[in-house]
Symmetry: C2
Subunit: 466 residues, 2 copies
Amino acid sequence: MLKAILSLSTDVDFVKSAFDYVDENVDKFVEDLKGLCAQPSISAQGVGIDECARLVKEMLEEAGLLVELRKEHGGNPIVLGELMNPRARKTLLFYNHYDVQPPDPLDGWLHPPFEPKVQDGKLYARGAADNKGNIIARLKAVETLLKTIGEVPVNVKFVIEGEEEVGSLTLPDFVKTNKERLRADLCIWETGYIDEKGRPNVYLGAKGILYVELTVKDPSSDLHSSYGVIVDNPAWRLVKALGSLRAPDGKVLIEGFYEHVEKLSEDDLALLEMIELDEESLKRRLGIRSLLGGLTGLEAKAAYYLGPAVNICGLVAGYIGPGSKTILPSKASAKLDFRLVLKQSPDDILSKLRRHLDKLGFSDVEIVYLNGYPAGRTPIAHPFVKLVTETAAEVYGAETVVCPSIAGSGPVYLFTEALGIPTISTGCNYYDSKVHAPNENIRVKDFITGIKHIALLLSKFASSYG
Amino acid sequence: MLKAILSLSTDVDFVKSAFDYVDENVDKFVEDLKGLCAQPSISAQGVGIDECARLVKEMLEEAGLLVELRKEHGGNPIVLGELMNPRARKTLLFYNHYDVQPPDPLDGWLHPPFEPKVQDGKLYARGAADNKGNIIARLKAVETLLKTIGEVPVNVKFVIEGEEEVGSLTLPDFVKTNKERLRADLCIWETGYIDEKGRPNVYLGAKGILYVELTVKDPSSDLHSSYGVIVDNPAWRLVKALGSLRAPDGKVLIEGFYEHVEKLSEDDLALLEMIELDEESLKRRLGIRSLLGGLTGLEAKAAYYLGPAVNICGLVAGYIGPGSKTILPSKASAKLDFRLVLKQSPDDILSKLRRHLDKLGFSDVEIVYLNGYPAGRTPIAHPFVKLVTETAAEVYGAETVVCPSIAGSGPVYLFTEALGIPTISTGCNYYDSKVHAPNENIRVKDFITGIKHIALLLSKFASSYG
């Protein structure tokens, strides 16, 4: 067994037996994933959170890990799993989340979002891609190693939180108070994508976020809309306030919004050059005529992977049912997310937003802060980047694309900054996984390859340098 | 009996016996009103319409009228009731509507909206004021005359439609094809209000309306909001388009919107001078600090009764549930009503809106026309104005205020223009009836006085000139 561990990375027999084990258990692995997806866990609405946390705990325990459910300040349970190997010289930490986005609009789904179904080689369910498919893939990789060579050659830690989709509210405190427990040499972040050319895309960081709700109130109750001639309407006020935040080309008009945004480095530009963004295919898939502000080429890639923005996630006022109702609503509100890049701080942007609104006469627009955290990134030069990209290329049979950051957000900064752990995101979603949207799905073949990737990564990590 | 009819207007005994009959039947009349309010009839949602039309028909028949349910082009049934008196020299036509506004937001109600309840002398229910209280008051006035003097001294016609709250879509055709049946000397429109000083307010017309829904679409499905950096968001497009329609002071910015709006006449100004708009009380009641654009005095009254406007009735895009969801919505829409004054045509304003949006680069904003009709008014000099105001003053025991128009809209133009019938609106709502809003209500004392008013009006109308 000692031999197996020491020479794992070059042991062709081992790789074959592990991969065979995965191939023999496809049906079982898919069933386990369906089981996890069938458990709703909508953090925004507090639906099924505790049940899902317990289910994840049981699944980790069944795989042989020691597991604790931890709560910080009344937040959702964080599942902390550990599989320590006294002979291991390295520790790998997996970051994932078991919570999912709300499934609405429900009428957009081919199948009910919490009744997972495989069709045409794809597993459809809310959470299938974001992020339960990756949780199960990693867990099955651990199981595969235990079943084939009897142990995992590195220490493995899982941090699986339940608040990612609502801004990881209590994770910062958890990380701060558990620095020792979370010590690791490498953190593998929640996911990665297979692009349209079949190439695995890995990510060296994630953007930050600021999520706020803007509300305008008064009159004290809905009025007959004939009052609209002499009584102001909160929906008009909100519309005007929102209109002041962003130019039609997407530029954020809040004074100082770009103050701390740094110019792209040579390394960043080099990475972006290597990434292919198939604009025509993207436009076709999304049903749009052109990208925002006519972006194209390097500019489009720079914006997508490394640019900040403000987005309206939701907007509501007055009567939204069928037909006509003539009222002057008493309240109007909008949910906004700001995607932040390195050096932009959510607190700073929040103050600037307040100042912007006040300056333009919108002091009556209330801002409720819902969540926020800064961006985090790992340098391309870090030696573990090679480990992740090479193992991905090996199993997916295609060149790995390295992206400087996820286009989305994640509390990567907690690991890169607070814990000082290089953090790389890789996983088994694909370009049409419809994350956060109806018909979220994962391809079964990617899920299976994803298990193999993590198994290979764990093995090679044991003997890698970094 | 002949004597009674001919000298009715001065017959103190008659008035006393009729009013006594009303006072003796308060409980029964309130029960009948509750019965009608308990029947939902939400035209915007197609809820309970046929049931309510049948109920109104039965109530009219029970009172002794000949009743037909008429449908035009698949619209909601129009209840046409007639009580013809071969000896009568005049005909009075009542216009009312049995449909109501949607009751939402439901959590704003003290009592369920379709479970009528009397509390502190007020009857709470959706439709209690708008417009079922007035239907029943008029019907009970007819019943009172039949029970006390044995007949009504004028021909009475009721037109009670079921589409007023959705723009009276099929009423124009009904009116056009039934000109003879609808012939009358005077039309009493749906309602009037008792103001804070206890004075009945009657109205000589109503504004027109144009109701549209604006929609912006694409991408083809909701996206993860990280795409917001490179993909335009229909909610941003909608917000910008809406923002271009109206200045913060309420002025409509669509080119040519005011083109056909005439300056107020001397008569209009004289009427407005007589109306008291208690701005402080209004602001207190509505929970607002000032009127739109700092309007006050005559300007505020002119805007309220005779000014056009555009209003956002509803606004929706993306995620509107609790907490945060990070999506880029695939669709955003707004419901708008334009209140129109004499000479403004809905078709013309619709074209101008389309041109405005196209000119500013918002050709992607779809406009769906939901309904519309022009304004209609009766001149203050018409002799029947005096009849209505004097009888109102007599029963309510306070000076009558004559308003040139309802602040809201109604298809008055069909009667004033197409049929050439002077049309005056009077009824038993009051200043805090919360029409179109939660806790819609009518004061029982006003309802009872309203019955007496119509009984007196019918009697005096028989011998009036005009």
